[in-house]
């Protein structure tokens, strides 16, 4: 079992899974939650080369997030990836 990192620090080419939120903003967490950022959902950094905002692939969608705000989402490397 690998350690938690934040969404903003994901590396390209590795599949992660969402493990939770570390946030003070209820709105932000709820919004992402409803968009499908629930525990266990696979997520990866999209290959789009843009530094900030970052673009992630989740549930077949591309979602752009600010790097600073993406620090509130916790992910972990998928072991079976």
């Amino acid at each position: 079992m690998s350690a938690n990192i934040v969404l903003a620090n994901m590396q390209a080419g590795i599949t992660y899974q969402v493990t939770g939120f570390n946030t003070t903003s209820e709105d932000y967490a709820t919004k992402l939650y409803k968009m499908g950022f629930v525990e266990g959902t696979p997520v990866e950094l999209s290959s789009v080369k843009i530094a900030d905002p970052i673009v992630v692939q989740i549930r077949g969608s591309r979602i752009a997030l600010r790097k600073k705000e993406a620090r509130q989402v916790l992910v972990r490397e998928c072991n079976n990836a």
Binding site: M35, I50, E69
Partner: protein, 712 residues
């Protein structure tokens, strides 16, 4: 079997609801919609079960607990049960994101039919979907469809008719036991997707990602954005102005020449002929000349939107928008503002926080809209000569700068508070659908023509009335057109001291009066300046002459002439890339006066009454002051009367301060006025600050008592 009278179409953004809606209803739309997004429900009808049923297209939403105003519209319609059946459009290429809404809908009603859209695209991408299995797992009828393909839609309608009969009895009180939390819903969806969908290819490196790699590239993003704006302007104004002559000539024929001939034929009194053909008719002709530019601007923006590029602009813009405390998505309504400010104000609904929405609405009017361009063109042609293009470009740039300044002002005063986060869904790119794009542009154009037409006709009518009523030595009289004694002239002179610091002299009262008609619509300034200046040197005799002269009506010849101009114009536009209609401006005064429907004597007056600097100051004022009434109306609808009023006052004061500062620094050199304009700027800031403070106190007073924190 129950009877279906009203059907709502629900789905996530970009799943093809509107395409399906257009395919079903044909040309039978009741309400138009603005670019940016479907921000209001749209209604239409289509035949089902041998009768016409009402169809409601809802704004796209991911779930039924939405956080933006446009999505709340969708939630409200579904909550209030304003339907007999919901058609849930589901994008076959992305079941996982789409089915969440289906789950939410299932909690509210059991009258749902799922239309699985874009099955063709899914197939191409190597996704196989077991439709029977999906239907069984969802417990809902599922019908595959390709919304862009008419025959596929026809088949789907037949299928809907069959399935309607099998629907269970209407039951909107679905038991709360079935309500699941988000995690369970997604677990359920994942399970369904695992059973019904099979993906063959690796989809990560598809076309959309490849395009995004270029479009949002760290270095190329801004140049590409600027290039796309350049093409938009070139398309709208360059291509649009090709048709200006055409509309001018046809408009002149329809609204001026023909009514004139008809009225003379029936022997109407001369004053009536002049009033109808010369006044109202000429006003309509002026509106007609704007039609092509406005249409092409709407069309260009609709194409950008349909392509999926707007969302990327939001991402690229986020870097600098966050500096004024706004999400990048707030930049999209502002681009829409280059077309028309009304839809820009409405497009702000897509933003989630109230603060973001209000700030965007305050900033949007500074993006120079299509209706202001004819005013710039008129003044630049009279005074700036070869530098006209540069002058217009500088005005657009000033507008952008003022929008940013407004952002900084508001961020620190009226709209303090936490800047909101930025999350943006990037849809798949797809080729713009010709019929959909044209249809939406046409609907927007129609409402523009209606609005502008009514305003120009009314403004010209009221103006000519006031221009006719005179007041001299305590006596009222009629027939004072063109004289210095008309009420209009008196009023114009009375208010001109206000505009004197920005370089409008007392003798130049028509310019002041034009600012008043500009309140209704900024394009009305051209008509007013034109009418008042030309009336200044026209005596009654020439008016009569003009009225008698055009008895010969050559309809065929005029129409031929109109078409010739389009041909000539097209050759011109192809041979030169014409940004911001610079070609329109660079042309000699004779041509331009024809193109924007002004008489050439107006240039002499503009040149005589303005200097280069006072004209630029005047144009700055026109750019910034009171957004037209339609915008204030839209702003009131979105923010309430209080903020709409604050916005109007703010814009007008800022316009005065900036125009005065510019004029006094460049030409007036009056230290008192320079200080006054700077003081006004400080005053505006202070005023907004106080308003913000008052507002904060109000919310604090209304809010429940704050929880007392640990005092240690």
């Amino acid at each position: 079997m129950h009877k279906i009278e009203r059907i709502a179409i629900a789905g996530v953004p970009n799943c093809g609801k509107t395409t399906l809606f257009n395919s079903l209803t044909g040309a039978r739309q009741k309400v138009g919609n603005w670019p940016g997004v479907t921000v209001e429900k749209i209604e239409g009808t289509f035949p089902l079960q041998e009768s016409r049923v009402e169809l409601v297209d809802l704004p796209g939403t991911y779930n039924l607990s939405p956080d933006t105003e446009d999505q709340k519209v969708a939630e409200r319609v579904i909550r209030d049960g304003e339907y007999d059946l919901i058609i849930n459009v589901v994008d076959a290429t992305n079941l996982s994101r789409n089915l969440y809404l289906t789950m939410d809908l299932k909690e509210r009603t059991n009258q749902i039919i799922v239309l699985l859209n874009m099955v063709d695209v899914a197939e191409n991408e190597g996704i196989e979907i077991d439709i029977d299995r999906l239907s069984k797992d969802l417990g809902l009828p599922v019908i595959p469809v390709v919304a862009v393909d008419k025959s596929s839609v026809k088949k789907a309608v037949v299928a809907i008719e069959q399935r309607v009969a099998d629907l269970p009895a209407h039951d909107s009180h679905v038991s709360t036991k079935e309500v699941m939390d988000t995690v369970k819903k997604y677990a359920h969806i994942d399970a369904i997707c695992g059973r019904v969908a099979r993906e063959k290819k690796d989809r990560s490196e598809n076309l959309t990602t490849r395009i995004d790699n270029v479009v949002m590239n760290r270095f190329a993003a801004i140049p590409i954005f600027l290039a796309s704006m350049f093409v938009t302007f070139w398309f709208a104004i360059g291509l649009g102005s090709v048709f200006i002559d055409f509309f001018d000539i046809i408009g002149g024929l329809l609204f001026v020449d023909i009514p004139e001939a008809l009225l003379s034929a029936v022997g109407s009194p001369e004053w009536l002929t002049v009033a109808i053909a010369g006044g109202i008719g000429a006003g309509c002709q002026t509106v007609a000349t704007f039609i092509p530019v406005v249409f092409f601007m709407f069309l260009a923006l609709a194409i950008l939107e349909d392509l999926g590029y707007m969302a990327r602009v939001g991402v690229v813009a986020d870097k600098f928008m966050r500096k004024i405390g706004l999400p990048g998505s707030a930049f999209i309504p502002m681009i829409v503002g280059f077309g028309c400010t009304v839809p820009a104000v409405m497009a702000a609904r897509t933003l989630s926080s109230k603060r973001d929405r209000f700030m965007t609405i305050f900033m949007a009017p500074f993006m120079s809209c299509g209706a202001r361009l004819p005013v710039y063109a008129l003044f630049c042609a009279a005074l700036f000569g070869a530098y006209s293009g540069l002058a217009v470009f500088l005005i657009y740039l000033s507008g952008l700068f003022m929008a940013i300044l407004t952002g900084f002002f508001l961020k620190n005063t009226l709209f303090k508070g936490t800047p909101s986060h930025f999350v943006m869904d990037l849809p798949l790119y797809h080729a713009p659908r010709v019929s959909a794009v044209f249809k939406s542009s046409w609907l927007r154009l129609k409402s523009f023509i209606k609005r502008a037409g009514t305003i120009v006709v009314t403004a010209v009518f009221v103006l000519s009335l006031f221009n006719s009523i005179g007041y001299e030595n305590g006596e009222m009289s009629f027939g004072n057109e063109d004289s210095q004694s008309s009420i209009l002239a008196h009023a114009g002179k009375a208010i001109s001291p206000v505009f004197e610091p920005m370089g409008i002299t007392k003798d130049n009262w028509p310019a002041s009066v034009a600012l008043f008609t500009g309140l209704f619509a900024k394009e009305a300034i051209v008509g007013t300046v034109n009418a008042l200046y030309s009336s200044m040197d026209m005596n009654q005799a020439t008016v009569a002459e003009v009225a008698e002269e055009p008895a010969e009506l050559d309809i065929g010849g005029t129409i031929t002439e109109a078409f010739t101009t389009v041909g000539e114009g097209l050759v011109g536009v192809i041979s030169s890339v014409d940004l911001l209609g610079l070609g329109l401006i660079a042309e000699d005064q004779e041509t331009i006066s024809e193109e924007i429907g002004a008489s050439s004597s107006v240039y002499k007056h503009i040149a005589a009454n303005f200097t280069v600097f006072s004209a630029f100051a005047y144009l700055l004022f026109v750019l910034m002051y009171f957004p037209c009434l339609a915008v204030i109306g839209a702003a009131r609808k979105e923010m309430g009367g209080y903020y709409a009023a604050v916005m109007a006052i703010y814009a007008t004061l800022l316009a005065w301060a900036v125009a005065t500062f510019f004029y006094q620094v460049t030409e007036g050199h009056n230290v008192v006025y320079i200080l006054l304009s700077l003081l006004t700027l400080v005053g505006i800031y202070g005023w907004l600050y106080l308003l913000g403070k008052k507002e904060q106190e109000k919310t604090l007073a209304l809010a429940p008592l704050p929880i007392i924190k640990n005092c240690s």
